[in-house]
């Protein structure tokens, strides 16, 4: 006699059978990877947010520029 969990597992295996056949990619993936390595990385959104914040700070308080340059 199967438990409810065993029945559920069996039903799930029936709904989503195991992918056990040996399969290969349909094409050579090396050119796609090579293209990926040549892409220029884009700056993440927080880099842009940080740059915007710094510019805003400088616009509102120009006197902070020497402090900023000192920190750099």
């Amino acid at each position: 006699m199967m438990t409810p969990d065993e029945r559920l597992v069996m039903s799930l295996r029936s709904a989503l059978p195991k992918q056990d056949s040996p399969q290969e990619p349909s094409r050579d993936l090396w050119p796609a990877l090579l293209a990926r390595t040549r892409e220029r990385p884009s700056a993440p959104w927080f880099d842009w947010a940080l740059a915007g914040g710094v510019l805003l700070l400088l616009a509102l308080f120009p006197a902070t520029l020497p402090v900023l340059l000192y920190c750099l």
Partner: protein, 178 residues
């Protein structure tokens, strides 16, 4: 796999990376396919995985071998993809058609139940779904799943348990009893 090749890869050799790619692309692809169950997505994620490996070469430890490391990176690439998908697109008609034949399945499980289970499975949170895919569907051991996901065995057990509980609740809400 030759230790020298792994050392060269760790030190950033593009030639070593290309050799590793040639030797491992099929196994990484098959691993990802077991998780995402869609050949074209598996190809995209294979490229993404090797890109991540290329970027992380300096953190690779040759003493631990390439395959477990590659498998972990590929698993996380697949998990990230699953997180980005809207539930209703996760098991499209195309993906369902690419599943192994239902003729192998148990006749006692009705087609209505299969469809409901596939839909409910696609709506599971990604981290529960990937654990259930590896352990329940692909019948890996909990240890193998834990290694691939980079989590503890007990965490895998909990995630599989929660996935099954959610599936059961969803089926019961539709008036079905597996």
């Amino acid at each position: 796999m030759e230790r020298q090749l792994l050392d060269e890869f760790r030190h950033g050799s593009a030639e070593a990376f290309e050799r590793l790619f040639s030797a491992q692309q099929a196994s990484v692809y098959r691993w990802i396919l077991r998780i995402v169950r869609n050949p074209s997505i598996a190809e995209e994620l294979t490229v993404e995985s090797f890109w991540r490996m290329y970027q992380a070469h300096a953190r690779f430890d040759p003493a631990r071998g390439f395959e477990p490391w590659a498998r972990r990176i590929a698993t996380h690439a697949a998990l990230d993809w699953m997180r980005r998908q809207k539930p209703e697109t996760e098991l499209s008609a195309e993906s369902a058609a690419q599943l192994p034949s239902a003729a192998e399945a148990d006749a006692a499980v009705t087609s209505e139940m299969r469809a409901a289970l596939q839909a409910a499975f696609a709506r599971l949170p990604a981290k529960l779904r990937i654990a259930a895919t590896l352990v329940v569907v692909e019948e890996l051991t909990q240890r193998e799943a834990a290694e691939a996901l980079g989590i503890r065995v007990t965490t895998v057990k909990v995630r599989v348990f929660r996935a099954l509980r959610l599936l059961r609740k969803e089926l019961e809400a539709r008036g079905m009893k597996p």
